[in-house]
Amino acid sequence: MGSLFRSEEMALCQLFLQSEAAYACVSELGELGLVQFRDLNPDVNAFQRKFVNEVRRCDEMERKLRYLEKEIRKDGIPMLDTGESPEAPQPREMIDLEATFEKLENELREVNQNAEALKRNFLELTELKHILRKTQVFFDEAEFGLPPQMADPSSQDEQVTLLGEEGLRAGGQTLKLGFVAGVILRERIPAFERMLWRACRGNVFLRQAEIETPLEDPTTSDQVHKSVFIIFFQGDQLKSRVKKICEGFRATLYPCPEAPSDRREMAMGVMTRIEDLNTVLGQTQDHRHRVLAAAAKNITNWFIKVRKIKAIYHTLNLFNLDVTQKCLIAECWVPSLDLETIQLALRRGTERSGSSVPPILNRMETFENPPTYNRTNKFTSGFQHLVNAYGVASYREANPAPYTIITFPFLFAVMFGDLGHGALMACFGGYLVLKEKPLAAKKIQSDVWTIFFGGRYIILLMGLFSMYTGLIYNDVFSKSLNIFGSNWQNNYDESTLMANKDLQLDPNSTAYLKYPYPFGLDPIWQVAENKIIFLNSYKMKISIIFGVFHMLFGVLLSLWNHTYFRDRMSILCEFIPQIIFMCFLFLYMVLLMFTKWVGYSADSLDVKSGPYCAPSILITFINMVLFKSSKNPSVCDDWMFAGQGALQKLLVIIALLCVPIMLLAKPIMIMRAQKQHQPLTNAGHTNTAAENGDAGYQNEEMMQQTQTQAPHQEEDITEIFIHQGIHTIEYVLGSVSHTASYLRLWALSLAHAQLSEVLWNMVLRNGLTINDWVGGIVLWAIFAFWAMLTVSILVLMEGLSAFLHTLRLHWVEFQSKFYHGQGYGFAPFAFEAILDQASTSPED
């Protein structure tokens, strides 16, 4: 039955592939995604496997592609992603791909190296340009600082040395002042100055000026700020010292000519060279851009191809090589329904590879536990994930997921019940569902987004059901809708109203219009002050009602499991006592609730069925189990209906009798069945021994064997008893505690309603009480605040909380009645899954 109700039937198959055809066949199977291969070489090291070289080549190719991708991303070129998946190329095409990637990588590296060299050159020239400009300033200042008589008025030219004529006049000794000019990072200037001062004992003179524009560092491509400096010193010792210090501080020194005319010539030369370099740099960048743009068109395709090749070789490594070295053997789990499809895929693969020998798919009988495979579509996969998160179903047991599709959103809605909040949730879910294709294509990497987007159908259904329960609870953002007209009305006259601050409407009067509000809660309750008293009684009862029905449904599913696995003993010894226990106690309580709703009324003529005598269901139930007689006031009946006392005693006794049946019946029957088998095997063994003619020796062997078997079986028996004991206790105690656990439906619904009311009364109402246009503006601001709190607290936080509680109700209260969950999931070899994983993981 290829459906969601039970996991699929799986077959263990052996696959014989010819070596030439193996690659193409595995490629076809990868596209199909229906086969889970087993590792036939588990104790072989990864480096000793057959196809390790090919995997290594694929890794190399992937590395080159990643380098290309990084460069493309650095330049900001968009990578074309058509969303289609090319097929894995043939092995011979792998060499072509490798060559292409090698060429691209080498070209790119060369271009990058050239660009770096050029940039370095450019940087040097730029720094030199700045130096020449700044030192001009230094020398100009020096000129103006000279005493006027020193200046030769005729020679208005630039042939002025720094110290003027003074330097030349001082006693024949020419004061030869040397200088060095260079560029240093701006941050290092203070330390540099200090070092110079200390090392040269203050005998050097430093002038510096900042370079306004930041320069680009060729290796890191960062923008750095630098300054020009010029150091004057005298003598060779100081010169060497200064040069060493400059080296230490990584300042680059440039040869700067003394004479201004030389400097101007140099400056012009530098400008032309800079312009040339700019053009060359521009052309290099263009070339690089062209190469990258051409690569960007194909790079996603290449990535997919390389990943597919790698996946195929990894899978081929799992295979066993036949003795004749011509054929590969594989073992795989395959869904039985898909055997035909797989055969077709294999045939396609062999045709593509041009091999003549067809592959053989051989079904094997095995006692191993097959994996659990549930075929889901985009709608059901969310719910299946919810179930699998607790435990993957055992092979071929009933799958709770199809029922979860409705019960989960419904139980959530019982706790969330608000038309307004439900509408918000439904709109959000609806938006995600309607726009699912474009949103999925965006491939947003956030974890939170993945969770919300993956559960979009769940959110949509939760929203819709919440709208329904919101209508029934008559709660829209903590206000009620009055669609049909309330069935309660005021029957007090004016004087009574004026005299009393609050009054209670009597249901046994004209205040109540005899028939209830047709759909949902009467809107009068929202404005009533004793609303919670009424709602408590109502919501607690519906929580228990739905809880008991949910659990009974779980027990019925266990019956379906027993029938499927032909486990008649379990039906008799487990299912029947379980259902009797649950029905006689808890379904009876539910029926009492319905009886109370129908039987007791405020306007009954008899006080015995009036509000005064209406019994508490809880007390009745407790008294029933404790065999106590209920103490009612004298005017009232002791029981709700005739024969209730006797009936209750009977129900409890039968239910209690079910407990030892659950505890002992099945293990005793198993024990008896085993004892019946044992003497048979003993007799069988001794008979064969006598037939074989060997007397004592083999007999002893057989006796030893059966003796070792017997304690083994005894252990099994104790284990069976213990297991059954645990199971019984879990069920019996669980049925009480789980029934009470369903009261969380009431608790959360109450909390949600109260929070909603608080938010309205404390926040939004303040905006509605101010008059005039001022009130309009105030309302606008307060509404924003109220809306933000509603969405964040009531929809998100309460939604998450109710989601969690519903999940717990399903996992523990519902599934413990029938679910084993001991299986393991089916993990087929599928390119889609591998590519998805590869594209999401490295992005972090």
Partner: protein, 85 residues
């Protein structure tokens, strides 16, 4: 019993239609059984929820307690004007 026959009949027919009648009209396909189960559970559960709410209000044992302001308001707005003393 303070129940009015029309709402009971109406909602039972509606949810009965969803849970019993619609599943027969689900087209054949791989998801036919699933759709049927979904519709049946929806019908049953929604009908039961409505029924519980209806039955809880059928024979009320207590009435709402309202402030005199609210009583005056509902008398005026809900078409049951007050008798002057």
């Amino acid at each position: 019993m303070g129940a009015s026959i029309f709402p009971i009949f109406f909602f039972t027919v509606v949810w009965g239609g969803v849970g019993i009648f619609l599943p027969r009209m689900v087209p054949n396909g791989p998801n036919q059984r699933l759709m049927q189960v979904v519709l049946m559970i929806t019908g049953a559960v929604c009908w039961l929820f409505w029924l519980c709410c209806y039955m809880a209000q059928m024979n009320p044992l207590i009435g709402p307690r309202l402030s005199n302001r609210t009583l005056l308001l509902i008398a005026q707005q809900w078409g049951n004007p007050l008798e002057r003393f």
